[in-house]
């Protein structure tokens, strides 16, 4: 990924957030919008300044087409992408199956993705789940049981 692209990811995210927030401010009383509007204008100016600086940089020589760049990045960072997907999956497992089962499922999938062998995965998952269960019980931690078990 070129330095220019890296520089632009965050300002584009900010721009998206600014537009969404601005649309939500419609109909707000003056007291609720005066400070946010000031911040939104400042953000637009700063996004412009940062983007201009990034765009003034020399483009990388012989840059690859976008599609092959995305494929290359996905291949290089497949573990990270898998962990992000697994983390989103954890939320749904957490809501449906509860804290302990979600933890077991996450660990059972995450250890192999991180590069742990099958036997160690089983041992580490069981060990971690037991430790978490005991800790949660001792601390009287109010863990959810999951929608399916209610």
């Amino acid at each position: 990924m070129s330095a220019r692209t890296k520089d632009l990811i965050f300002p584009l995210t900010v721009l998206l957030a600014v537009v969404s927030y601005w649309l939500q401010l419609e109909g707000a009383p003056r007291a609720a919008r005066v400070v946010p509007q000031g911040v939104l204008v400042l953000l637009l100016a700063l996004v412009g300044a940062v983007a201009l600086t990034a765009l003034r940089r020399e483009p990388p020589p012989g840059g690859a087409p976008a599609a092959s760049w995305i494929l290359g990045a996905a291949r290089a960072g497949w573990r990270q992408i898998a962990i992000v997907g697994l983390s989103i999956g954890y939320y749904f497992a957490f809501e449906l199956l509860g804290f302990h089962i979600a933890n077991a499922l996450f660990l059972a999938c995450a250890f192999p993705i991180a590069g742990v062998g099958l036997r160690s995965t089983v041992l580490l998952t069981l060990g971690s789940v037991v430790v978490l269960y005991v800790t949660a019980s001792l601390m009287q931690f109010n863990v959810p049981e999951g929608w399916l078990f209610r």
């Binding site: 990924m1 890296k6 300002p11 400070v35 911040v39 962990i83 992000v84 954890y90």
Partner: protein, 497 residues
């Protein structure tokens, strides 16, 4: 002003076996909880609060105070070892502590951290004992205009954390302010930027944001490494005590940061995060090698950890003298005091003088425990930095999910943590400073509320209407100009050879 009989009675209250035992247990519990990311001291204090009703008032309050101190000190352990702050106040400890751990100097960093924490806490406790009766009266002068200026000053300090590109720093901090303004507006209850999501009505939750930006993003980066400590491992037995000696070499930073921390702690509502970042910014501005900050400079770690713990001690002053809690844990402390019939406020030192001194002296003893417990424990914790990431990453992942959930007991916060983790990745790859975003996020609501209150009370003139605001304006301008002046000075020195 100082009633020596009350001081003696306060000490007598404290030096009873069951009170000292509760102090030790409270400190140990706080230390363990502080070392686990997300399980913050406020949560544990809230869980333990009903159980303290079976104890007498002083035993319960001393235990709570010790727990609060233990958690603050131990919060630096995960901040240094895995870049995940144990408490919000230790977020700044990641800036220098984690790069040191990455270089294989985890033990050294922990030694520095605990020595600085002890100094900061002892300094703050002594200041609290001496100044509480005096400052109670002074702190009453802080109105919304003064608080607004405190927030502005905090944000200008961010400029000294932003590295070379000031625009990136400003963008990150302005975005932090915007995210802080998500949720129902404090004055009109109008929902802003919630997209109709009920869980965002109270705003974006701090702990999931913190865990996402620092922890989850780092987990993704760590997957490329073999272990946290990628440098040459320094495992010598004396490494932690070398850290203590290293900390004592930075006497000026230690003293300056403890003073900054105590002052910021005394200001109601400012908090440990602001204190440690301001101290870090000042350490960098005054340093002879500011370019080394961010790469694992001991001076920065000394500044953040002494200030963080000095804030914890200083924050007890407004809690006792004004009844104003400066943080979530201080709020639970307030609840504990009220539940036991000890109501803090401007007349606290008149009505509960003995109790006040018992609490303040218990803080002093808890400060000493940071070194007594922390330094021996650091050797065991240090091993985490050498664990293979293939084992560490999934376990830290589960801790992050649990910590995010534990803040409000809402599964939704796990998603918030993941989203802010991805934002953290975007910021890191582009070189946008995460601390600037975080500080602005914490200060955002304070800025807005105080701005609107000031304008409503007396118009824009109030921002220049008192000696305190004028002093803060001067400090703000100096803080903005200092990096430029120092840069020019260094350029001139270079030209002279």
């Amino acid at each position: 002003m100082y009633d020596l009989d009350a001081v003696a009675a306060g000490l007598q209250n404290l030096f009873q076996l069951h009170v000292l035992a509760s102090l030790l247990v409270g400190f140990a519990l706080g230390f363990i909880v502080g070392a686990i990311p997300g399980f913050n001291d406020a949560n544990l204090m809230a869980i333990l609060l009903p159980f303290t009703l079976f104890l007498d008032a002083m035993t319960a309050i001393v235990a709570m105070s010790a727990l609060y101190f233990g958690a603050q000190a131990a919060g630096s352990i995960p901040a240094i070892l895995i870049n995940v702050p144990g408490t919000p106040g230790t977020a700044a400890s990641t800036l220098e502590g984690y790069p040191m751990a990455r270089r294989g100097q985890a033990g050294l960093a922990l030694g520095i951290s605990f020595a600085a924490s002890t100094f900061g806490a002892v300094f703050g406790s002594v200041a609290a004992i001496v100044l509480s009766p005096i400052i109670g009266a002074f702190a009453l002068r802080f109105g919304p205009a003064e608080m607004f200026m405190i927030a502005v000053f905090g944000l200008t300090v961010v400029s000294s954390l932003t590295g070379d590109d000031i625009w990136k720093g400003l963008l990150a901090s302005a975005f932090g302010v915007l995210i802080a303004m998500v949720g129902a507006d404090g004055m009109t209850a109008f929902e802003r930027g919630t997209f109709g999501i009920l869980h965002l009505y109270d705003g974006v939750p701090l702990i999931p944001v913190l865990l996402g930006l620092f922890g989850f993003s780092e987990v993704l980066f760590l997957m490329r490494e073999q272990a946290v400590a990628s440098g040459e491992s320094v495992r010598g037995k004396g490494e932690i005590f070398r850290g203590v000696r290293e900390c004592l070499r930075h006497r000026v930073t230690l003293l300056r940061s403890s003073i900054i921390g105590t002052i910021i702690g005394i200001i109601p509502g400012a908090g440990a995060t602001i204190g440690s970042f301001v101290a870090y910014g000042q350490a960098r501005q005054w340093s002879r090698e500011p370019e080394k900050f961010g790469t694992g400079h001991p001076d920065g770690l000394v500044a953040t950890d002494s200030a963080n713990n000095a804030v914890a001690a200083g924050a007890v002053v407004p809690l006792l003298t004004l009844g104003l809690p400066g943080s979530a844990s201080a709020t639970v402390m307030l609840a504990a005091l009220v539940l036991h019939g000890v109501r803090p406020g401007p007349r606290f030192f008149l009505n509960f003088q003995t109790e006040a001194y018992t609490i303040l002296f218990s803080l002093f003893i808890a400060s000493a425990l940071i070194a007594l417990v922390g330094l021996p424990a650091a050797r065991s914790f240090r091993a985490v930095a050498f664990l293979p990431t293939r084992i560490l990453v999934p376990i830290v992942g589960v801790l992050l999910f649990t910590g995010a959930f534990a803040w409000r007991f809402l599964g939704f916060d796990i998603l918030v943590m993941v989203v802010f983790g991805l934002l953290g990745v975007a910021m890191k790859v582009g070189g946008y400073p995460i601390p600037a975003f975080l500080l602005a996020f914490i200060l955002g609501s304070l800025l807005e509320t105080c701005f609107l209150q000031t304008v409503r009370i007396g118009g824009y003139g109030l921002f220049f209407g008192s000696p305190i605001t004028i002093t803060l304006w001067v400090l703000t301008i100096l803080s903005l100009l200092a990096p430029v002046i120092m840069k020019l000075g260094r350029r001139r020195d270079k030209a002279r050879g």
